[in-house]
Amino acid sequence: MPVRAVITGLGIVSPIGIGVSEFWKSALAGQSGISAIESFGTLPMEGYRCKIAGRVRAFAPEQYLPPQQSDRVDRYAQFALVAVKEALADADLSMAKERPHRVGVIVGAGMGGMVMGEREVTQLYEQQKPHRVHPNFIPVITLNSASGIVAMAYGAKGPNLTISTACSSSAHALGQALQCIRTGQADVVITVGADASITPLVFAGFCSLRALSSKYNDAPERAARPFDRDRDGFVMGEGAGALIVESAAHAKKRKANIYAELAGYAATSEAYHMVIPREDGVEVATTMKLALESAGVAPGQVDYINAHATSTNIGDEVEAKAIRHLFKKRADAIAVNATKSLVGHTLGAAGAIGAIASALAIQTGQIHPTANYETPDPACRLGGISRSTQERKIRAALLNAFGFGSNNAAVVLRPWSA
């Protein structure tokens, strides 16, 4: 019998709430965290096709973190630290009782320290003073700054990794945490997804890619509308999600509360195109199938899918096609929702935030609404998508996450049963 992994703690920083309780309350109410961006400092929004985003409002790191943790890292790593603090407390995991080398940290991040990154590049060219580049620039923008600071904050000396596969980063972080537990490399893996790159250059880049919604600048809360006929692109979000993943034996020993079993995972590449998915959905279907096999779960047991569903025309269509391809007639009986309809697309944090929504759905039997699902798009119609909260006993849940670079991930969660 392979070693099994469970999720025992959750923490979140999101556009609809800092903290799991606020996030979940907002999620069940279908509340949107998308709002207008007034400007990027002195840079007006006129030249941006998209002028809206899901931002974490009123985030004051000093409320949550000592300055030695928060001062030397970028916004995404601050989010990660705050989410991890909540998750560890929620798991009631005391590092003093753990063997430090048996506690790992795996972070998924797509963009990293872009706030400081963009600021320093701008200043370098404006001021022409290379000697005035901030001494902390390199450690802050290095993509493993979040996994590093989390380990330092808690003395976690086990495997310390950062996975960067764009929008699937933290789904892979969860998958790698599972592998870590299964192969006995760690008892506990603090697993995180974090990104905070609603910054002038990155935002302009996504506009230029024509990946963002631009029809709803005057009605921001309506812009993220996965699977809806009138969707026109994704809305950028930011945030972090943290999940404490540990071996079932370790959790049992310390009598931890268990949200769900982290039961399976698959990682694939479509080996197809940097930004376009294969339109027939076969690769996505294969990824989900492999994840279910990894979990020993039959497709007939899946009751809920937390879809990647970014609200782009092709992405949602391909995912719906893939769900239909794999689940055949049962496709319409599975509850499907899109967390991005509420928080926008948090890039590297998306997998972790989706996993938190999935773990809470398993625990509470409540599946949060997909906001703005008003007119089902015939091209991606699935019977289980709803604008309302759905009540369901979940035997197994699938979490999908796909990233630029032809990258796919799927993760399986299910209720814990010894």
Partner: protein, 102 residues
């Protein structure tokens, strides 16, 4: 000032450079995807060059109609017309260019 007659050849030249093929083999009737093999990302890159060449900003909503070399030329012509500076967007048009997974 760009004359109407110059628009199509400039677009064809931009395409020829992008596709690394002889401009003489590209016709206005050519479909960007079906005849010239441009995927949605390539169309976006082409329009990025066209925006620069003609000093335009092309809204996402206008992309749906830009399927052939001729339709791109006609669009640019409309946008450059002095009295009609407003975009020729078709209200409610779905931008088929959003073909990305993100």
């Amino acid at each position: 000032m760009t004359t109407d007659r110059e628009i199509a050849p400039r677009i064809i030249q931009a395409l020829a450079e992008y596709l690394k093929r002889d401009a003489a083999t590209i016709k206005e009737s050519h479909h960007l995807r079906d005849d010239l093999g441009l995927d949605s990302m390539a169309v976006i890159e082409l329009l990025y060059k066209i925006e620069e060449a003609f000093d335009l900003q092309i809204p996402d909503q206008d992309l749906a109609g830009l399927t052939t070399v001729g339709s791109v030329a006609a669009y640019v012509k409309t946008r450059l017309a002095p009295a009609k500076a407003a975009p020729a967007a078709k209200p409610g048009a779905t931008a088929q260019s959003k073909r990305k997974k993100a």
